[in-house]
Subunit: 209 residues, 2 copies
DNA sequence: ACTCTAAACGGACTACGGTCCACTTATGTT
DNA sequence: AACATAAGTGGACCGTAGTCCGTTTAGAGT
């Protein structure tokens, strides 16, 4: 008896065939070994494919693009961070003052570049990959909620984006490596910015044309 | 009588040979025609070279990279904007209240994407080109000075960078095109951010570790 | 076991950015 | 006019991201 197996079954997330899953694991392992051994630049799609013993087409089928592969490589630490600020202990997690949580969030993100810098940068190349990353959406919502909880009013979604912009890995990396700003300085600076935003009253309304 | 022609003569800016200058003009014209006719994506280095009737090597010699070529393409409007906020009439130029100037600056930059969007984005690809653009340095200094004039204290260079980050063309383009935020909304949002920063007292010092 | 089909695969192929270097030319000197 | 030389030139060449499509295979139905 057939139970209409062809229906889309919305949100069904399509289970991956087991050979596909196996190849995904192989590819991620290959990529992460390559990063460890020879740096991010050595992670070419050909190299990863060869190392994993699959064809290049497979790499693209699984990850869509180089940036997608990098994002997958980050997935673990991204999820860990999300866990921390969604359900972990204060000051990152629930329970602490929202402003403290905000500050801790910024600090955590900035310090991520110390260990994941190059991969983060590679994951951000291409506007496509950069703005569609699920991690981005989660972070934006998180910031927005913290702002609201802290009693900030105004155009919160946009404010969240503006606060998130200085945390972009490529920028942080530039400030740290090229400009010589320490990560602590960056974190303090962002904390200052966040506190200013929270402290000041909203200024809604049009500006002079 | 030889007057030591081989000395570096620091800051001498090396005059361009006239055939070189001619080719630069040809290349820029070719590039700008290509943008007009077939969009930014059609501006490949090969296409520009062919259209200008020069070799590809010449394009790279003149502009260094695709991003460099795009930057050169923007040069005119960038300089115009700089003129406006450095020496033009208020509220952009000197004379107005620093906060008003700041707001006007943000608004002007955001509205730049309406006409130059794609080219701006292309000019920002590659961290190298993005952070070394002279236009960036000028803007950062401008913001920093306005903040100082407005009596803001704190880590001003860093604060300037943080305020500049949300103005990045790629981000603005995303918010406008993909997210559907109007440019006016973006400008108002940025103005709000800037005013909050100015209004709030500095919060120097370390945050909790 | 056999069949069927959607999914997965792989690697040749394309297009583009960027490099390299042997060759040409503008320009100032004698 | 002849020369010297730094600057400029062009296009073959390379590596890489991403596409395409003919072939293979997992796994569900019978």
């Amino acid at each position: 008896m057939v139970n209409i197996p062809l229906l889309p079954l919305a949100g069904d997330e399509g289970v991956e065939r087991c050979d596909a899953a196996r190849n995904r694991r192989r590819l991620l392992e290959a990529a992460s070994l390559l990063v460890a051994e020879r740096g991010v630049d050595a992670v070419t799609m050909d190299a990863v494919a060869a190392r994993a013993g699959v064809g290049k087409g497979t790499v693209f089928r699984r990850f869509g693009s180089r940036a997608g592969l990098m994002r997958a490589l980050l997935d673990h630490s991204e999820q860990a961070l999300q866990q921390q600020f969604l359900t972990g202990p204060p000051p990152l997690g629930p329970g602490a003052d929202p402003v403290d949580r905000l500050v801790a969030f910024g600090r955590a993100r900035i310090h991520l570049v110390e260990v994941q810098g190059e991969v983060l940068r590679a994951a951000e190349s291409s506007a496509e990959a950069r703005f569609n990353a699920p991690a981005r959406a989660v972070s934006l919502t998180h910031i927005e909620i913290l702002l609201r909880t802290a009693g900030v009013d105004g155009d919160l979604p946009l404010l969240a984006q503006s606060l998130f912009a200085p945390l972009e890995a490529t920028l942080v990396l530039h400030q740290w490596r090229d400009l010589g700003y320490s990560l602590d300085r960056l974190a303090d600076g962002w904390a200052d910015l966040a506190r200013r935003v929270v402290a000041a009253p909203a200024r809604a309304g049009r500006t002079v044309r």
